[in-house]
Symmetry: C2
Subunit: 120 residues, 2 copies
């Protein structure tokens, strides 16, 4: 993880400015993997979801994965987790303002993906 772009200093002609693409790997870490995009997509549409609701929506995800990915998204500042001291416990996940800024980016990725219509 944490792919890095070497700040190369090869003596290659026409030295590139690859360093400027560094942040792509940060972005890909935020949305990479099997589930994060889906979780975010559901949160774009629901603005508040509980653990169980997400589990149901994301058909097939294990609790282990859901828990892990929510934790990552939270520590990345994309979502917030609010725990209500009830019995049984209730926990709600929402996008942060910052999380919402990801939406147009994902949509442009999605638009580009549509254009591929490859046989894959």
């Amino acid at each position: 993880m944490a792919y890095s772009v070497k700040t190369s200093s090869t003596n290659f002609q026409n030295k590139t400015h690859l360093k400027e693409f560094c942040s792509i790997f940060k972005a890909l870490d935020f949305i990479g993997g099997r589930w994060k995009v889906n979780i975010l997509a559901y949160l774009f549409e629901h603005d508040s979801l509980r653990f169980k609701e997400l589990k149901r929506l994301l058909e097939g995800i294990s609790e282990r994965m859901l828990s892990a990915k929510l934790k990552e998204l939270e520590s990345d500042g994309l979502i917030t987790k609010e725990t209500f001291p009830e019995v049984p416990p209730r926990v709600e996940y929402k996008l942060t303002e910052f999380g919402r800024t990801l939406r147009p980016v994902l949509e442009s990725l999605n638009e580009w993906g549509k254009a591929t219509n490859s046989s894959k």
Copy 2:
């Protein structure tokens, strides 16, 4: 690989339109992994590079990986491979028109990545 978005039909209130985000996974397959973005970035700047040149630019990549990723990018239609029947052999890789359409998308991802400035 080939993450899929189940065309769910849960009876969840306010059914989402997640299906519309399907193509993101196609896009992520095209640019995912440790090296593809870097290869593309160099091709954005050089418009023609040989195997050895790419290997030198992508410091640390093994020939195995470079070969594999170039093959994938070619079969995805993002780059072309031209072999010159010389001794020693010469092979040049270029972006296709379609490959170039990826540039603005990567740039928007990159811009978003910059905004994170997390401690990761």
